[in-house]
């Protein structure tokens, strides 16, 4: 289902237009809005989770090694994580054409 799935006949519409699937916005790939992306330098990272908690787009999750990795499907490239990282472990890089 993409955004175009709002094209629904009225008989198939949910009661009162309720959205029954929680968090279905995940289908919208907001990463497409991005013009730059964060790049992590694992050498510098102290796994403090500041980037994780300061991301407005909930892009970060922790991997098995304990590093916080931003999901480029959703990262809008705002650069807050890079700005806030206490160890300057994140740098913003322009998207390639």
């Amino acid at each position: 289902m993409s955004t175009s799935s709002a094209i629904i006949g009225w008989k198939n519409l949910t009661l009162g237009c309720a959205i029954l699937e929680p968090g279905s916005s995940r289908k919208l790939k907001t990463g497409e809005w991005r013009s730059q992306h964060p790049v992590l330098d694992k050498e510098k990272c102290i796994k403090c989770a500041i980037c994780y908690i300061d991301c407005p787009d909930i892009a970060y999750s922790q991997n098995e090694e304990g590093y916080f990795i931003a999901d480029m499907t959703y990262c809008k490239g705002c650069g807050i994580c890079a700005n806030e990282c206490p160890k300057d472990a994140i740098t913003m890089k322009m998207e390639e054409e």
């Binding site: 094209i7 009225w10 009661l15 009162g16 237009c17 959205i19 929680p22």
Partner: protein, 392 residues
């Protein structure tokens, strides 16, 4: 066991809400609705009704609280009138859109200005297109019965729409009438507990009230309207079952002495009783007159109405509200529209009377009938007649 009592009609409505075992009442006082909510507050305070009574700070919040409450699956009730109803206006459209079966009593009263606390239908006529089922009660018993019926219809899974029961302010709300009060056990046979199809529940998280983008707004409206149109059959079936259980039968359109009638009065609400007296009097004097009254205003019951006026020459609609700058009163407009496609359609004459508590008397109906007869022969004015207005 049902018991016969003499009781103010407002209190009777509260008793109906009590035996319907509502969960939440959110209401703000306004004359002439006050006695209903005061009595409900009392019933809750003394433990006769186990419900949350939210003494909100405005009608806007009353209806908003009703939305919140109903969205959790609670049986929810409010009552209002006039300025209060107007203040709710914004939210009224949202209740059926969310498919929430809130029930509201409207004690019909004139809208300001000038400020006027007395009865007419200008408050509810301004809310014609809100998407609620709307009925009109004619007397105390009917007010009680229609209130129970309202919950039954609203909560029916093929309806899931809010319902308004209209009753005339003062002329009905404040009179003491004899009527039969059903008890909770009897009502339970007719009105099962509300089982919501959807509700706010952390176990099954859902989003209600999302943004309706252009791609979906039309379909959303259509879905709601379809439910409203289909509610007709539920309304009628629920009245039939009510009659079978309790012996009082109701119909969307009622007729009185329409056989052989040439001029037909059309009314809504408590003036119908005066209209019947007028019909009796005129019939005795040999006039061929009859009466049709609407009990179901939304959805409008075209088929039954058309059937009821078949062969009538002069339908004369008495509105209790104006439509300033328009061609006729609001009910007359609907009646004209309903009859327009009929073969040999009659002319429909529009009269407005009883504004802002102005008494409607038998003589007013006589006046309407005689004018209708004249107009039928000589042609009607382009607009409506305001009955009883002083010219000088």
């Amino acid at each position: 066991m049902a018991k016969r009592v003499g009781m103010e009609v407002s209190l009777g409505v509260s008793e109906a809400v009590k035996v319907a075992d509502v969960d939440v009442i959110a209401a703000y006082p306004i004359t002439p609705q006050t006695h209903i909510v005061e009595h409900l507050a009392e019933l809750v305070a003394n433990g006769e009704l186990d419900a949350e009574f939210i003494p909100v700070e405005s009608e806007h919040s009353a209806m908003s609280s009703c939305v919140g409450s109903s969205a959790t699956g609670a049986r929810t009730y409010t009552a209002s009138s006039s300025q209060g109803l107007a203040l709710m206006h914004e939210i009224l459209y949202i209740v059926p859109a969310l498919r929430l079966p809130v029930v509201m009593t409207v004690a019909n009263r004139a809208l300001s200005g000038p400020i006027n606390i007395w009865n007419d239908h200008s408050d509810i006529m301004s809310e014609r297109d809100i998407g609620w089922v709307q009925t009109f009660a004619e007397n105390g018993q009917e007010a009680f019965d229609l209130s129970i019926h309202a919950f039954r219809v609203a909560e029916d899974h093929s309806v899931l729409l809010p319902v308004i029961v209209n009753l005339d302010g003062f002329t009905l709300t404040h009179v003491v009438e004899p009527f039969e009060i059903l008890d909770r056990a009897e009502v339970a046979k007719y009105l099962p507990p509300y089982k919501p199809v959807q509700r706010l529940d952390p176990e099954h998280p859902m989003t209600m009230g999302a943004v309706g983008i252009p791609e979906v707004y039309t379909e959303a409206k259509k879905q709601m309207e379809d439910a409203l149109v289909r509610s007709k059959s539920v309304v009628i079936q629920a009245w039939k079952e009510f009659g079978d259980l309790f012996g009082r039968y109701y119909h969307p359109v009622e007729t009185y002495k329409t056989e052989g009638a040439e001029t037909l009065l059309l009314t809504m609400g408590s003036v119908s009783e005066t209209a019947m007296t007028a019909i009796d009097k005129m019939r005795e004097a040999g006039k061929k007159v009859g009466l049709v009254r609407f009990r179901l205003w939304r959805p409008f019951r075209f088929e039954q109405f058309v059937e009821a006026v078949k062969g009538i020459k002069n339908p004369a609609v008495m509105d209790r509200a104006m439509s300033p700058g328009g061609p006729c009163g609001p009910v007359a407009a609907e009646v004209r529209a309903a009859l327009y496609d009929q073969p040999n359609r009659p002319k429909v004459f529009s009269f407005v009377a009883g504004l802002g508590g102005r008494d409607v008397q038998v003589s007013d109906f006589e006046e309407i009938v005689s004018r209708a007869e004249i107009y039928a022969e000589k042609g009607a004015p382009a607009t409506y007649d305001l009955i009883g207005v002083r010219e000088i």
